[in-house]
């Protein structure tokens, strides 16, 4: 999710036939839309613990990015990516304490600058930050588990908006493949456990999954290069998630992406490095 804005800027370098739709600069589209969704949802349903904590996540993420980027590279980085990381952390994590909102943002941004291979960071920053915080602080932090209210309409609106964004930036195939794989594997889980299928598929109807599907697994900075392998990787993510769910791991999607996504990135970066060294 954090790299989405930066990757979008690279998408702009290749003229997009869809660019006429929603003529806002691509870099600002995801931050604008995720902010609108957040504001609308909180005013309607009160999904946040409080504005202050989400604001803290955003400010800390942007601040950390500015400091780390300036010191490391000698220039100010674009804040859009950090904004996405911060707002994601502020929406996704839940805690009665304030410090998790601070540390999730800090850890997310630090992971970009520390955990790198051949000049590319390995993990989606928000995925790393959220996975780390819920693993290390289970007694005090959980992940967003609420709904967008009771009516179907808000859920449909979010799906449509999310689909529009990923289509606009050419990542719709990733989201669609993951959803299809999740549904198939949920049938498998239901058959193996005897749990009603509607119960196994219930999580995908919630906001947490929608953010995961549209903003986290599609992050161009931390997905492999080819379209075919992008689809293969998300199917693997869904498969590992299924295994984790069979083991009753609650944060299965985050951990699955954490494991599979990083392995895929290492392989992809290594192969890219080798092919660039080969004489043409």
């Amino acid at each position: 999710m954090a790299g989405d804005a930066n990757a979008l800027s690279s998408a702009q370098q290749v003229p997009a036939p869809r660019g006429r739709l929603l003529t806002i600069d691509n870099r600002y589209l995801p931050p604008l839309l995720i902010t609108s969704i957040l504001v609308g949802a909180n005013l309607s349903f009160g999904i946040l613990e409080g504005w202050e904590r989400t604001a803290l996540s955003i400010v800390v993420a942007i601040g950390a990015e500015m400091v780390l980027g300036r010191i490391t590279y000698g220039k100010w980085p674009h804040p859009a990516s950090a904004y996405i990381s911060g707002i994601s952390a502020g929406i996704l994590i839940r805690s009665p304490f304030v410090w998790p909102y601070f540390f999730t943002s800090v850890i997310s941004i630090l992971s970009k600058y520390v955990l790198r291979l051949k000049g590319r960071h390995i993990w989606n920053p928000t995925n790393f930050g959220v996975s780390a915080i819920v693993l290390l602080a289970p007694a005090t932090v959980t992940v967003l588990s609420i709904q967008w209210g009771n009516a179907v309409a808000p859920m449909v609106v979010i799906w449509l908006l999310g689909a529009l964004i990923v289509w606009r930036v050419g990542r719709a195939h990733i989201s669609a493949t993951y959803v299809a794989a999740f549904l198939v594997f949920s049938f498998v889980r239901s058959a193996l456990t005897g749990v009603p299928w509607l119960a196994t598929v219930a999580p995908i109807t919630g906001p947490m999954y929608q953010l995961f599907i549209f903003f986290m697994i599609t992050d161009p900075k931390t997905t492999v290069r080819s379209k075919k392998w992008q689809c293969v990787v998300v199917v693997m993510v869904a498969f590992v998630e299924m295994l984790m769910r069979l083991a009753e791991v609650v944060y299965a999607p985050f951990y699955a992406l954490f494991v599979v996504g990083s392995i895929a990135m290492v392989i992809d970066i290594t192969r890219e490095s080798r092919s660039s060294r080969q004489p043409s």
């Binding site: 349903f45 009160g46 946040l48 613990e49 409080g50 780390l68 010191i71 490391t72 590279y73 000698g74 839940r94 805690s95 009665p96 304490f97 304030v98 410090w99 998790p100 540390f103 800090v106 850890i107 630090l110 992971s111 600058y113 520390v114 780390a132 915080i133 819920v134 290390l136 602080a137 289970p138 007694a139 005090t140 932090v141 959980t142 588990s145 609420i146 709904q147 209210g149 009771n150 179907v152 859920m155 005897g194 749990v195 009603p196 509607l198 119960a199 196994t200 598929v201 219930a202 999580p203 109807t205 919630g206 947490m208 769910r245 009753e248 791991v249 609650v250």
Partner: protein
């Protein structure tokens, strides 16, 4: 890239790596710190916190184990969840002999409730059968969920209102000898988990507020459909109706709910009456499951208005299960403690301690200080009460918790977390809920006894002071059963034993109690507020009916005084509006105070 910039980046990477590791370590340490509680240490004096608890129910003649109901077989797969309430305890001196008695509810069809009469020698005897309060759990009329004492006809004897998943029932106390069914105007069937007495129109007669949980048209023993579950884990508005029943006198009650503007259909688990704006008219705070709390202010006895969002208490949806009032900072402001669910690695809602930002008249804004003061993480929290357990002058909190203790090595949490995030079309149908199969859900939890240092900082000493049971606690009530100026603790556990924790307080700590009797106000003095001024402190308490979850404390207000041997004054604000000041009341006694200007 230049050599300088490469060096710079290497140095930067080293520093960032250190910071990342340090951040991860800090997170781990902060998490551990949040769980800290003081263990039992036999090498240290057992009165190091000023008090010690010892469980003594059987020794006192109380041998009661709560039994749960069994509903429609289509709920078999999740029966422990749907039949997870009904253990309740309510304290009152029903026979006016000066000793606190208590009533406990049972919930299995055909089971008997108990009325434990205090014999005055430290023991109790069950007189429920002989007075007519035992055999009240029948399939035809429903099973008990709780009861609340209040003198509705002002004859001086506390009457009992019983609420059930079924027919609510009022029992008139015939001079402490027996109880007879009384009252008209009650709804035929309410699946209720909360009720309280309050004089909402200040006419001197106690009115009733009854809060439904399951929808009223649901017969849990004979389901027409399995679509009976809450429509959402956060925004459920398909729960039971609420009833505000005005006491018209002579046992006649009139449903005024719609007339006063209460239309809530939330899943209410606890209610307490409180006047947050100092208008003299009591309002209502509702702790709701599957959603936000509601705070109804009473506009002159004519209308109730929900100001939960405006005041801050009703913004974040949680799983409210308790409503108790306490003066946390000894500054005259009554805070509201609401319990929720916290389970490591699954769901961390945190309990709420709503502290008003201002005192006095007008609608206050509340801020949640539970985390700041260290009373937020209480497991799957249920009932909690404020009381000065060690008589040091500050109000402490006793909290019970635990949802379903079944298989000790199994957990239903994963399946619960999966269904709970589903859309209303999924979660609303019981048939979609995964089967529990004998698994626990936040079971075997240790209790919390948070002692207040006087400045609002709380420390959990439950294990250290002897509150070591791990039953599925529901209701907790505080009462001076031995008339020694010490609050004992009685706990009703779901599908578990009733416990009485006998309290031993360190010597040299003084106390004072006030037992109020209204004349122009309702005779029970419910709604009266007493501010005690001593040694530079001021502590406010309110006479309430229901407080906590399915619980009622002793009617008399108990204040610990620490080492102080004198009290400056007690200022009583009666429900009628009259204000009375008692100068220099003696300490270490219970004062019986009758409202001036009698009938």
């Amino acid at each position: 890239m230049t050599a300088v910039s490469q060096t710079r980046q290497r140095i930067a990477w080293t520093v960032w790596t250190f910071l990342l590791i340090a951040s991860l370590a800090a997170v781990r340490a902060l998490n551990q710190n949040a769980l800290a509680s003081l263990p039992h240490d036999e090498s240290v004096s057992d009165l190091r916190f000023g008090f010690q608890l010892a469980e003594a129910a059987k020794r006192r003649g109380v041998d009661f184990v709560h039994e749960a109901p069994t509903f429609d077989s289509r709920l078999d797969h999740i029966m422990p969840q749907v039949a997870s309430t009904g253990a309740a305890v309510s304290v009152a001196d029903f026979d006016k002999d000066g000793w606190q008695d208590f009533y406990v509810t049972n919930s299995r069809e055909g089971s008997l409730n108990r009325l434990y009469r205090n014999k005055g020698d430290g023991t109790f005897e069950d007189v429920a059968q002989s007075v007519g309060l035992a055999d009240v759990n029948r399939r035809e009329t429903g099973v008990s969920m709780g009861a609340v004492w209040g003198d509705y006809d002002n004859d001086g004897y506390e009457d009992l209102f019983l609420y059930r998943y079924g027919q609510p029932q009022l029992f008139h106390n015939e001079s402490g000898k027996r109880f007879v069914a009384a009252g008209t105007g009650f709804p035929r069937w309410v699946n209720a988990n909360a009720a309280t007495w309050l004089d909402y129109d200040r006419d001197g007669l106690l009115d009733l507020f009854l809060a439904g949980y399951w929808p009223d048209d649901v017969d849990l023993w004979r389901l027409m459909t399995t679509r009976i579950m809450p429509e959402s884990f956060e925004y459920a508005n398909n729960g039971g109706r609420k009833y505000l029943l005005r006491n018209r006198g002579h046992g006649a009650f009139e449903d005024m709910t719609a007339a006063v503007g209460i239309t809530s259909r939330r899943w209410t688990l606890a209610v307490t009456a409180v006047d947050v704006q100092g208008s003299g008219y009591p309002g209502l705070f509702l702790a709701n499951d599957y959603g936000v709390s509601e705070m109804f202010v009473n506009r002159g006895g004519k209308r109730f208005e929900d100001v939960a969002v405006e005041t801050g208490v009703g913004r974040a949806p949680k799983s409210g299960m308790n409503a108790a009032l306490g003066d946390v900072f000894n500054d005259g402001r009554l805070s509201i403690y609401k319990t929720n669910i916290s389970e490591p690695g699954q769901l961390v809602q945190g309990n709420d301690l709503w502290v008003p930002k201002t005192a006095g008249s007008g609608l206050p804004a509340f801020e949640n200080l539970a985390t700041t003061l260290g009373v937020d993480l209480g497991g799957w929290s249920w009932g909690a009460q404020f009381g000065d357990l060690n008589n040091d002058g500050a109000q402490d909190i006793y909290l019970v918790n635990g949802y379903i203790s079944a298989g000790e090595r199994s957990s239903y949490w994963y399946d619960f977390s999966v269904i709970a995030v589903g859309h209303s079309s999924i979660i609303g149908d019981a048939a979609n809920w995964p089967a529990m199969k004998g698994r626990s859900l936040s079971g075997y939890q240790r209790k919390r006894v948070w002692i207040n240092d006087g400045f609002g900082n709380f420390t959990d000493v439950a294990q250290a002071v002897g509150a070591t049971d791990t039953n599925d606690g529901r209701a907790v009530a505080l009462a001076d059963f031995r008339n020694t100026g010490v609050l004992d603790v009685v706990v009703a556990n779901q599908r578990g034993p009733l416990l009485i924790y006998e309290n031993r307080v360190a010597p040299g700590r003084h106390w004072i109690q006030f037992e109020l009797e209204g004349t122009k106000s309702n005779r029970s003095a419910i709604g009266a507020r007493v501010e005690l001024h001593w040694n530079g402190h001021v502590q406010a308490q309110q006479v309430t009916a229901a407080t906590g979850f399915s619980a009622q404390n002793q009617r008399g207000l108990h204040y610990g005084l620490g080492q102080a041997r004198t009290v400056d004054r007690a200022v009583i604000r009666w429900p009628s509006g009259l204000e009375q000041t008692i100068a220099n009341p003696s300490v270490d006694i219970r004062h019986h105070v009758k409202e001036p200007d009698g009938r």
